[in-house]
Amino acid sequence: MNDHHHHHDDHHHHHDNRYSDMEARVRALETVLTEKGLVDPAAINAIVETYETKVGPRNGAQVVAKAWTDPVYAEWLQRDATAAIASLGFTGRQGEHMRAVFNTNETHNLVVCTLCSCYPWSVLGLPPVWYKAPAYRSRAVIDPRGVLDEFGVVLPQDTKIRVWDSTAELRYLVVPQRPSGTEGMSEADLADLVTRDSMIGTGLALAPEAAR
């Protein structure tokens, strides 16, 4: 995208010592809890594997692609997102109470959790670092256009921006607008256009040529 990425690298160098401290601290914690019979290291492996291989933004992309191609499904998603998403097999932790919010020509939706890191895990997997960090959490509600600009998203001046602060147990999935030039594409090909960021609201769905 653009040149802001190098800031993140600086951030990491700055935290190197802290990271190695955490390595020892977390290892000690796991050792103690395992010795006490409170934790099964194999269960930790299974949790990690779940979020590395099974539960991630491909789930949400399938939901969006289906909503783009099937008006009956889109209506169901709008009315009862939890059930409509569960019908594709995506349920569970941090997706128990889902709401889908649809971008239109008039309104762009953006999701944040200013108070912690609430995020729809069942459809997007684990949140990225920036979603949980103070810069995004502080600015999304006061300067969303500035935030979007850092993601390379520039909206028309008169587009309404609606920010959803996830302060309770509802979890929000943004349904981005279907890009033009995608008529006749299959649901599977359309899902490839649906990025994680487009389902948070910090991106738009990709144009077909950009996805190739």
Binding site: H7, H11, R18, Y19, M22, E23, R25, V26, R27, A28, L29, V32, L33, E35, K36, G37, L38, D40, A42, A43, I44, N45, A46, I47, V48, T50, Y51, E52, V55, T91, R93, G95, E96, H97, L115, C116, G125, P128, V129, A133, P134, A135, R137, S138, R139, A140, V141, I142, F151, Q157, K160, I161, R162, V163, D165, T167, A168, E169, L170, T202
Partner: protein, 219 residues
């Protein structure tokens, strides 16, 4: 509480800095931190609201300089000590020094798929009818409890409109402190940016929160 976690509208944190092709984890300890946090949650000794409150009680200087997995681990250590599962002395020593409290369950590998797929629904039925309806004008409470709340500072004492009645849910402010689930109706309340931020606010911006009924007064 007015803790370091309540970040909406604060300034000075710099650019968002998204990372291209971000990996799921930036270090192996983050994987273990995720797994430990979920495994210990399965003990059934505390709820998600108590965990959130433990995180927001991390002193501001530490909270704001920590990565989110570090925040999780610091809070987990507090919860483990509070509920008698592991002490700071043991984490320091790297071995067991005291027998632990008995958890309601220990998460084993075979249970993981089922537990993650079930999650922890927190909708609960209530006897009362919702006090507010869609389109009602409401004002949020002005309060500054030293305890857990999910009404962010930027949205206190603000006038907004009920956009949706979302159902009834466990009341986080009570549940975090062992005062019971005491479910209430939850509403999506939308505010014009001008109401929240005043002069210079983006005229195209509206912001919504999900508010428990007791956060709201009729206008």
């Amino acid at each position: 509480m007015n803790g370091p976690h309540d970040l909406g509208g604060q300034m000075g944190f710099g650019p968002v800095a998204p990372e291209r092709d971000e990996p799921y984890f930036h270090a192996d300890w983050e994987k273990r931190a995720l797994g430990l946090t979920l495994s210990c949650g399965a003990f059934g000794a505390w709820n998600i609201d108590e965990s959130r409150h433990a995180r927001e009680n991390i002193p501001p200087a530490s909270y704001l300089s920590a990565s989110y997995y570090e925040i999780w681990i610091r809070a987990l250590e507090v919860l483990l000590e509070r509920h008698g599962f592991a002490g700071a002395d043991e984490i320091e020593a790297g071995r067991m020094l005291h027998a632990p409290a008995a958890p309601k369950r220990v998460l084993t590998a075979d249970m993981v798929a089922g537990v993650l797929a079930r999650g922890g629904p927190c909708d609960r039925s209530v006897e009362t009818e919702p006090k507010f309806a869609v389109s009602d004008r409401v004002r949020t409470k002005n309060f500054h409890p030293a305890t857990h709340t999910r009404l962010p500072r930027y949205a206190r004492a603000k006038a907004g409109v009920v956009e949706a009645v979302q159902g009834s849910f466990v009341f986080a402010d009570d549940n975090a402190h062992g005062r019971g689930e005491n479910p209430q109706w939850v509403y999506t309340v939308v505010f014009d940016a001008g109401e929240i931020w005043g002069e210079g606010a983006d005229p195209t911006l509206t912001v919504s929160i999900d508010a428990w009924e007791s956060y709201l007064e009729r206008m």
